[in-house]
Symmetry: C2
Subunit: 433 residues, 2 copies
């Protein structure tokens, strides 16, 4: 398999071709001509991976702020401001990374948590002796996200006590001219702009995702290259378009009674990728009103499952319970594995295990699950990644963004707003003042 | 508020009283007389917190294996074998714990992951110099869980190279006379039995949960005391029974079209508690057949959401999307907080934030969400914990186990089996051999 992925659907859903979708794909394809650097509509987010300037700006800040001494990059952001970077970082570096000494590493502050903040503060107390070792990247599209501003204030106070030049170690990623942008200008911070029509959940190929990832040493050029390949594919008008069918399938699945889409990743390191995709689906498609203003309460609820872990907690429901889910089984070839010893105190209690590579055991589990989905005739699709690499992740994430936009078009909802997020904020604001 | 929690429902569901449930609660109450140490039926799991012998056995192994030198306890287990211990540990110690130096700490190996295993192996290479510093607790009810046996084999080989007496640092928690038990006897390991009728998802108050938690220094006596209080309450025949109404409510919610129960915890440290509860609900209620053998495809799909994080990714769907969820909002009083500085480069960009305690900000967010659920008339219940403590967690977990058993009775399904988990295993076994 070439670097990338294959998608194979398994279901008997009828997926009629939609003229509205044809027209929409045509519009997006037309935008692509000379797309680089022009951000006029929300769909422009799909062309971020083609924009050499966005990448060059992030790299230029990287040259300024990243040295061999850098140990920690703190990403302060929540929702679309950190889920993309965390997805790619955890996929490539593993979730046990904080315990490992090597490489500059990303740490994330999202919600307010005394325990998390204290643990981080203690870690820095022990391991950060001068300011070159740390970099703060505050990410907020609006520039006024309460949790991020509060986390920043706490971390800044703590670090400023010991590192008087901490102001020289801050990069803000935000909309140009937001209050955060202006504060950054005033204090001489690094500044990276998010193109205005690019929303949080579609921003991973902007500085929001690219800057912290490249600062951590991840190959973001390859990440964008994978996405750019996919960008060409998903603007194709014909049947080779890899996002069209999956969108039509999910639409058909919803109409036939599926209220959930189960994103079932067979690698624990991909759980954060699942949380990125969960936001993408939930926030883009979960809508009180359709584009005409009619109350519709549309949407499909995304689940994130992890193999083999969740086979031991969720499989009973998935195989035996209500038939109300469309499932995406996602598995990558593993290039690394550990050989299970042939000798040892438990070597004879599970037949066929001793001497196997762990990756072969996971493959056997995956194939058992895939067979069970078929045996139960549960609607699903299989995504087989060549490997978990920057390139394949770029392809995958671009593919999912396009699929969700196309699905929103079929559902006649606006993929790019989130009006109901305000529903809790008025009371919160009143209580804070 | 006394240590513990309050539950307040908010919905207009009709919840008729069920004679079958009355009878079931009566049966369980009758079992309680002289319950300690007798495990004759699955419901006996509810009486584990009253069993002084279970606790004493775990403590006795603790005295043998835990010294001031102990740094790491590796729990090798998956599903019901680790979710309970991880829930309590993460709730009380926080998820950033691996980076912190103090206290013996729990690390978990569940699925097979090269990255996770390597990270752990490197950590031990760097920080474990002699065998007193490490303890392996392999947990498997059947004794033959493939992932756990494989993870054990890998870790054992690696540690045995440097620590020749590693066999003296292994405790196996399993069914008496399983293959794992027999191997443990042969090699002189510590052994802790799981009472036969206690299934994984109901085992947190057996040695499965108690031993690793007490080895990590968590007050399991208080944990069991909280659960014992709740055990008395949930066997009450009258309206004071705190598990009856929530079971009837969820049953009514399912009948009125809710296909999901959203467990919405307003503390990031409670995400693992959510994963424990997710298994409890999914595996106990998701059933292909009812107790008469009729094909029913019953069940309700649990979601785990975290406030405030998921407000920035899922709230749009929850408030605007399909009205197909019953939500449990779970919030604890915070005894610890950080005061947000009044001075600083961003002090004036979010009104009302500077000078507030972070816990007050989270309270304001919580109250905004609670108000929005009411404004949208979405069916939900509010659980307010006095604080996140061993005692309150014991109460909460016992309460949820009883609620799920009562709900299974209303749904006429067997809460204690998981026949469909086998659906993928036959192919997997064939491929491994």
């Amino acid at each position: 398999m070439k670097e990338g992925f294959t998608y194979t659907p398994h279901h008997d859903l009828v997926t009629p071709s939609s003229p509205a979708l044809d027209a929409y794909i045509g519009e997006i394809a037309a935008m692509k001509e000379g797309a680089a650097g022009k951000y006029s509509v929300h769909e422009s987010s799909l062309f971020l991976p083609l924009d050499e300037k966005i990448l060059a700006e992030a790299e230029s800040q990287g040259e300024k702020y990243v040295s061999a001494q850098l140990r920690y990059i703190v990403v302060i952001g929540i929702g679309g401001s950190n889920l993309g970077a965390k997805a790619v970082y955890d996929a490539l570096r593993g979730t046990y990374d904080p315990a490992r000494p090597q490489k500059p590493k990303l740490v994330f502050l999202d919600t307010l948590s005394h325990d998390t903040f204290r643990a981080l503060d203690e870690l820095f107390e022990a391991r950060v002796e001068h300011s070159e070792q740390v970099l703060i990247n505050i990410v907020s599209k609006s520039g006024t996200t309460a949790e991020s501003v509060a986390n920043f204030a706490l971390l800044y106070r703590s670090l400023a006590k010991r590192l008087p030049d901490i102001a020289s170690r801050i990069v803000a990623t935000t909309d140009r001219d937001s209050l955060l942008w202006k504060a950054g200008e005033k204090h001489g911070w690094g500044l990276l702009a998010i193109p205005l029509p690019v929303g949080g959940r579609f921003s991973v190929f902007s500085a929001v995702g690219l800057f912290p990832l490249l600062a951590a040493g991840i190959d973001v050029r390859e990440f964008c290259r994978g996405a750019a390949e996919m960008c060409r594919a998903i603007t194709s008008p014909d049947e080779t378009n890899p996002a069209r069918r999956p969108a039509e399938e999910l639409f058909a699945a919803m109409r036939s009674g599926c209220s959930m889409v189960n994103l079932f990743y067979f690698h624990p390191e991909l759980e954060s990728l699942g949380k990125w995709e969960r936001q993408l689906i939930a926030e883009s498609l979960g809508k009180e009103k359709d584009v005409t203003g009619k109350t519709v309460h549309a949407g499909i609820t995304p689940l994130v499952s992890i193999g083999s872990t969740d086979l031991h907690s969720m499989a009973q429901l998935y195989f035996g319970g209500p038939r109300d889910k469309f499932t995406l089984l996602i598995r990558a070839s593993e290039t690394k594995g550990d050989r299970i010893p042939e000798e040892g105190p438990l070597s004879d209690i599970v037949p066929g295990l001793a001497g196997k590579e762990t990756s072969a055991v996971m493959d056997a589990i995956y194939r058992g699950v895939s067979a069970a989905y078929k045996a139960h005739a549960l609607p699903h699709g299989e995504v087989l990644l060549s490997t978990v690499s920057s390139h394949a992740l770029g392809q995958y994430m671009e593919w999912r963004m396009a699929t969700v936009m196309y699905l929103a078009k079929l559902m006649k909802v606006n993929a790019f707003d989130q009006p109901n997020v305000e529903d809790y904020k008025s009371v919160t604001k009143k209580l804070l003042q």
